[in-house]
Symmetry: C2
Subunit: 324 residues, 2 copies
């Protein structure tokens, strides 16, 4: 199986973290070099990498600090780690980085209290954490492959960072040949740019459709399954994902097409209506590239995400095997 | 009431037909000059004007021929008109221009048979035909205005050539203030480019949304009515319109939002499934402007239209007062 570059978009080469510049995919496979906290904050702030990549950058930045720090006492190192956490937490306002950085800081405090040597303990913990996530994501790729049947035509929306491309290869090794419909996913075209690219790289047939054509392909019986990712999960099973996911779920229900969601279950948010939905800058809709497509005094409403209620979801495929 | 340039996009100035180049709206209000059959075919073939504009060009081209023809006998003029009809019929493969050109040719034959002077008879008939359509469209604009209630938030898709912009002005004169949500309408952005432009020109508040956000705005109760146009009508009340219309109708039903369609009723096609759907060049989806947004060997499926069944339509607002 060929691993999609989107599956693990930030990797160490020696002491330098190489972060895939996802904004340049598919034109270029360019990696931004991150050597210190400042460069890590910059790569996050400039949105060079998306949610999962940012998560990898956040954890990896602590490894960079541990490698490069010149301080000699555990408390001085803790202070440096706390400053790192603070810089990462404030790099983008809406992302819950604190949930991750607080774990690392807690490990550091714990080690100091227990008089464990800080650097190797933290390095081992962070690397173990990363490897655990990698392992669980690979397990989920296999779970998706199991879900696929020979001849399946799968509709997907936005981009699920490598997992569908890799699952389609595993399925093929099992003599199950599948093909995909990818929505464009306006306004950022993640479907057209990322999903189409990684599926065709994986040798899996993929057909691009406008977001407007979802109803037609479902009604015409061209789709056997819908599989999408998710950004947030609620205690009650509702999920939030890229804008457009919800209407695909409603349409899938209308036509009896099962709708599967890749999730990272969490009980922190009770229900979908409690998820804060980021409303993005209207200019992102009013312009394309650098060019304005709308003339005159026109508003735009651009919610970045929408909420799909549990009732519309056939099955969750969870990262931590809590599928429901 | 200010008339939208999209409402009547082809007009005579002296002996020259001025055709609005809709591909340049909203950047420029540029009119292509059409002086003869060859230029008329060119303006249709280059898709400078859309369905209604093409219809105006087809009829007006006969007026150009009548004005400019040097032939002296009625049969020579008839032959010239038949050649004109043939050139227009074959200008674009999928448009049913023959339905219009055959009327003009039939008038000519009828006049010759009845020994009526050909030129003035045809000019009067064609101009009367055009004025009749204009009158009926203005009536429909008033009918749309009647439908609007003070405070209405109306969702529309693609572009309805001036009618909504004009109806919103009439409503305002009646102290009914309405606002619109316009979908982008990928891949050609008719909503972003044409609908937003003409509504804001008419002084009517308009908010652009991605095609992906329709489900969200309906679910959040932000829309009171949906009003869209149509390209074809069937005997049973099904309609065909720009791709995306169907899924909006399904979503509107789901949320109990009434879905109105501006139609041109016809009994030529029995049911929606009998309407031939033009599948357009995949390149139109794989590229944006001149730039390719998709890398590698990726297919695209771009049906230009979809069919909305009668059951999803609250009411048709017909051009010829056959509303049902």
């Amino acid at each position: 199986m060929k691993e999609s570059p989107l599956f693990w978009p930030a990797q160490f080469k020696g002491n330098v973290l190489h972060v895939l510049d996802e904004t340049q995919v598919p034109e270029k496979l360019h990696y931004v070099k991150v050597r210190n906290v400042k460069e890590a904050v910059k790569v996050i702030r400039n949105m060079k990498t998306r949610a999962f990549g940012q998560f990898l950058v956040v954890l990896s930045t602590f490894l960079l600090v541990l490698k490069n720090s010149k301080v000699r006492t555990p408390t001085a190192l803790l202070s440096e780690l706390e400053q790192t956490a603070e810089a990462l937490n404030t790099s983008r306002p809406t992302f819950p980085f604190r949930e991750v950085t607080s774990i690392v800081v807690a490990w550091a405090k714990d080690a100091i209290q227990k008089n464990i040597e800080l650097r190797p303990f933290l390095e081992k913990n962070i690397q173990g954490y990363l490897m655990g996530i990698r392992q669980r994501r690979l397990q989920r790729v296999n779970e998706i492959a199991e879900l696929l049947r020979d001849g399946d035509r799968v509709l997907t929306h936005c981009n699920v960072s490598g997992e569908l491309a890799m699952a389609s290869q595993i399925a093929r090794e099992q003599r199950k040949f599948v093909q995909f419909f990818a929505t464009e996913t306006r306004p950022y075209f993640q479907g057209a740019k990322l999903t189409c690219w990684e599926l065709q790289k994986a040798g899996t047939p993929v057909t691009l459709i406008a977001d407007n054509a979802v109803g037609t392909v479902l009604a015409d019986g061209l789709v056997d399954k819908v599989i999408v990712g998710s950004d947030r999960s609620c205690a009650n099973g509702d999920i939030a994902n890229k804008i457009g996911t919800y209407q695909i779920a409603v349409l899938a229900k209308e036509f009896g097409t099962p709708f599967y969601v890749l999730t990272q279950p969490s009980n922190k948010i009770p229900r979908g209506e409690d998820i804060p939905i980021e409303v993005r800058n209207p200019e992102e809709l009013l312009t394309f590239g650098k060019k304005r497509i709308v003339a005159g005094k026109v508003n735009a409403f651009y919610p970045g995400f929408d909420v799909t209620p549990k009732e519309l979801i056939e099955r969750e495929i969870a990262i931590n095997a809590q599928s429901r």
